[in-house]
Structures are given as C-alpha cells and as structure tokens.
C-alpha cells in the first residue's frame, strides 16, 4: 500500500455522511525498528472539509506574509481535524469510520 492511496480519499462517517478529504497522515515514530530508527506509524488522519485538500500547500501555524497570500492559502485550510486511526473501519477507495465519536 502507498501513502498516496490514503491521502485524498473521502472520509465518511458510519452513517455514510461525508466529513471531508484526507489531507495528511499523522504519524508517531514508534513503529517496528528498522535500521537506525523506528518506522513512522500512522496514528491519525488529517481531514479537511474542502474537496481541494492540500492544493496550495499549507502550514499548521498562522501563515505569514501579505494578506493576499494569507487569504488564498489560509482560507483553504481552516478546520483541519484529526481522526484517530483506531476509528477507521475500512479504507478501500473511501475511508469509512466506525460508529463511535463521529461528531467532528
């Protein structure tokens, strides 16, 4: 499986309602030891309500710079939420979440 096969997928809650698009994969470096370091293990999905996802790049802290840039880049990435991987029921073509805790 490739990371690109998860990023960009639509995320649906257990009732089938669209929550957003996977924009990024949050990891913790505590997976199986590989070479010098532990492998990064996926702990969650970053979901954006927009369909565009991370089209213009984004950063987690406040975008610096002229208001024009902030308006374009920042505006596309309000409301990023983190969905823990434990809530994922299936990820075949779409991400379907398990029934608990789906109010985002």
């Amino acid at each position: 499986m490739r990371a690109s096969q998860l990023i960009g997928l639509e995320v649906l809650d257990h009732a089938g309602q669209r929550i957003g698009t996977v924009t990024d994969l949050r990891c913790k470096q505590d997976g199986p030891l590989r070479g010098a370091m532990c492998a990064p293990r996926i702990t969650g999905l970053l979901v954006s309500p927009h369909r565009l996802g991370a089209v213009l790049g984004y950063d987690r802290h406040a975008q610096h710079g002229p208001w024009l840039i902030r308006a374009i880049v920042g505006g596309l990435h309000r409301n990023l939420t983190v969905v823990p991987w434990t809530q994922v029921a299936s990820y075949d073509g779409q991400i379907k979440l398990k029934p608990l805790g789906d109010s985002l």
């Binding site: 991370a54 089209v55 213009l56 790049g57 950063d59 975008q63 610096h64 710079g65 002229p66 208001w67 024009l68 840039i69 880049v73």
Partner: protein, 409 residues
C-alpha cells in the same frame, strides 16, 4: 579591498547581464513606434524583477536549495508540475530566441547567413556550459555586455531635449496612430521582457552553485538593487535612441540591424561595432543562462543531482536535459522562423507564465520554516502583493490582446 572589488564586479556583471535579446528587440521596436510613451512599462518591470530576484536570491542563500526543489516541496507535486511545464516551455522558447539572437548578431558582424552560424553557436554554447567554470561564465559575459553602454553614449551624442524626453516618460500618452489594445499589448511585452522567469531560476540556482550563505545576502541585495536598475536604464536608452532616430524616419524595427542603426547614426561605425559586440555578449550570456535554467528546473523538481559544482558524470540527467534543450533551441532556429519573431513570442509568453513562476517564490520567501528570521519585510510584501496583482492582470490579458491585435500589427 577584496570585498569592494567583489561587490563592484557583482554590480557590473548584473548591469551587463541584464539585457538579453528580448530587451534589445522589444525596447527598440517600441521606441521606434511609440517613442517614450511606454517607458513606464519597462520601469515597472525593472522594479518587479528587482523584487523577485532579491527574494529568490535570499531563499537560495538561506536554504541552500534551488527554486523548483522548494516549489514542489511547499506546494506539492501537482502545482509543482504545472509550474514546471509552464516554466520549462517558456524558458525553452526564450533559449531558442537567445540562440537565434547570437546568430543574428554574428551575421551582422560577418555578413555570413545566420542559419549557417547557428550550429556553430550551438556547439560553442554547449562547450562553455560543459567546461567553463560557473563564476567565469557569469562574470565574463556580464562584463562584456557592459559595452552596451554605447547606447547611452549614442543617446548623449544625439543631443536630445532632455526636458522633453523626461516629459514624454513621465506623462505617457498613446500615439494617435496606434490603437489602445496595441499600446497595452506592447506594455505587456515590455513587462515580460524585463521580468523573464528564467532570471529568477538562474539567479537562485546560481546562488546555490556559488554556495551563498546568509553572509552573502547583503552582496546579493546590492547586486540586485544597484545593478538591475542600471541595467534597466540601458533598456530605456535603447528605446530612447530608437525613438529619436527611427520614429521620425518612420523606420520600424524588425531586424537586429535596425536595433543598432541609431547608434551608427549618432556615433559612427566604430560605435556600431561596439554595439554588435554588446549584442553578441548579451545574447550569448543569456543563452547560457536559459540553457542552464532548462536543466535546473527539471532536475530540481525531480530531485536529481544538478549543477556545475559536481562532475558532469554525477549529474548525468541534468546535463542531458541541457543538451536536449540546446538541440531543440538550435532546431527551432533552423526551421527559419525569424528569430526576432521568436523573441516577440517569448516575451509575451513570459508574461503569461509569470504568476505560476512568481507566486510560489512569494509563498516560500514568507515561510519561517524555510527562511527562519529572514522572511519578507513589510515593504517587500506590500510591493510584492501589488506586483502579484499586476502580474496576474498582465498574464490574463496577454493572449487575448495578442490574438486581437494580431501580435501587435
């Protein structure tokens, strides 16, 4: 002392290296048809290139990485690819124009048909890229290009009414025999000639080639803010002598010989010979820059090893791209399309591609993750935002105007 010498060399190289075939042809052409009523467009373009060259140089000095490397990383592979395709094609077109320009200038000097000269020019360009040290390459052609000051000398010798000239520049009005769409079409062409995308790729990649660090930012700024405007003044001088000599005589510029004609009229044959030397130096230098930029853009997007600072064997794909771009450029000229026409198209398409190439630089130059404390100041951002609007307007209007005016007819 050595520091001052270094700075002076940088400034002189920036002045001499500023002018390329696009500036030569477009400024002379506009001067011969519109007088000085479009100089404002050149001046706006010069401010713009200063702004963006400074940003891209600062990015290279702080991050030690080339523009396209960062563009893909910051904006993702899709936007990066769109950027790459647009930038590469425009740079390749400009490369063909410069190669044609060298051949035309040499034809002027030797009376040998330019089509016969072009293959030799191609080999010479490739040889210099392959074997000549980066700093030598940059400095030599930059300094030789300085002889284009002869246009300033010619202007002075024509003894114009300086007050009148100044009035024409500061209070532009469209000549009555030209339509408004054509006027703005050439404004965009002048803008695209001054703000060529390749300049930014070359400047930032060159900074990495020469291993700039934070300490070099001041030198880099002086080069840009002193050298480029003075180079821009040369462009204005080219337009001014064309306005004074060709406009009254109703001669419109469509050959490179006519670009130099005012110099011959004002200051004689030797001055013309110097001007031709300047043409050769400016276009050859620009050909080197555009050729290398074709390689820089592709290699940096894909993450390949690039640069003249490693042995060619270690950057094989980079050198192959440069070689293939050179073959394509020479081939384009050999199709016998007039290189002056290629030049006119290259400046207009440069204007079209500008938003895609400049917007990412603005984003990165403002990102503290890359720039640390050296992000854009308020003044830079204020000006850069204004220019972003101008760039988008020029880009959107360019093709419709080109079609409507049949490329400035």
């Amino acid at each position: 002392m050595k520091r001052i010498f270094g700075v002076a060399l940088g400034i002189l190289t920036a002045i001499g290296g500023f002018v390329d075939i696009g500036d030569l042809v477009t400024n002379a052409l506009v001067g011969s048809r519109f007088g000085l009523s479009l100089v404002w467009a050149t001046l706006v373009g010069v401010v713009g290139i200063c702004l963006y060259a400074e940003m891209s140089g600062r990015v290279a000095a702080i991050t030690g990485r080339g523009t396209f490397d960062l563009v893909r990383e910051r904006l993702g592979p899709r936007v990066g690819m769109a950027n790459l395709v647009a930038s590469f094609l425009v740079t390749l077109l400009t490369f063909a124009a410069e190669v044609g320009g060298v051949a035309l200038a040499l034809e002027l000097a030797t009376s040998v048909n330019y089509l016969l000269i072009v293959p030799i020019v191609g080999v010479a360009i490739w040889f210099v890229i392959w074997r000549v040290k980066f700093s030598v390459l940059e400095n030599t052609f930059g300094l030789l290009g300085l002889v284009l000051i002869v246009f300033g000398v010619a202007l002075w010798k024509l003894n114009p009414d300086w007050g009148d000239l100044f009035r024409q520049i500061s209070r532009p009005h469209k000549p009555t025999d030209e339509s408004l769409p054509v006027y703005f079409y050439y404004a965009i062409a002048l803008f695209g000639a001054a703000m060529t995308p390749y300049e930014v790729f070359f400047f930032s990649s060159g900074g990495v080639e020469e291993k700039w660090t934070k300490k070099d930012i001041i030198t880099e700024r002086v080069n840009v803010f002193v050298g480029f405007p003075l180079g821009g003044l040369l462009s204005v001088a080219i337009a001014a002598v064309a306005a004074l000599v060709l406009l009254p005589a109703n001669i419109q510029v469509d050959t490179i010989g006519q670009v130099g004609l005012p110099v011959a009229v004002a200051a004689g044959k030797i001055a013309l010979a110097i001007a031709i030397l300047g043409f050769v130096a400016a276009t050859f230098g620009a050909a080197l820059e555009t050729g290398l930029s074709c390689g820089y853009t592709v290699a940096q997007y894909y993450g390949w090893q690039w640069g003249k600072f490693v042995r060619p064997k270690e950057a094989s794909r980079f050198h192959l791209v440069v070689l293939m771009a050179l073959i394509a450029a020479v081939g384009t000229v050999l199709t016998t399309i007039d290189p002056v026409k290629i030049t006119e198209y290259s400046v207009v398409f440069s204007a079209v591609a500008l938003p895609l190439t400049y917007f990412p630089i603005l984003v990165i130059a403002n990102d503290p993750d890359y720039m640390g404390t050296e992000t854009n100041g308020r003044i830079s951002n204020f000006l850069a935002s204004i220019f972003l609007v101008i760039i988008v307007v020029a880009s959107v209007a360019a093709i419709p105007l080109m079609l409507y005016t049949k490329a400035g007819q």
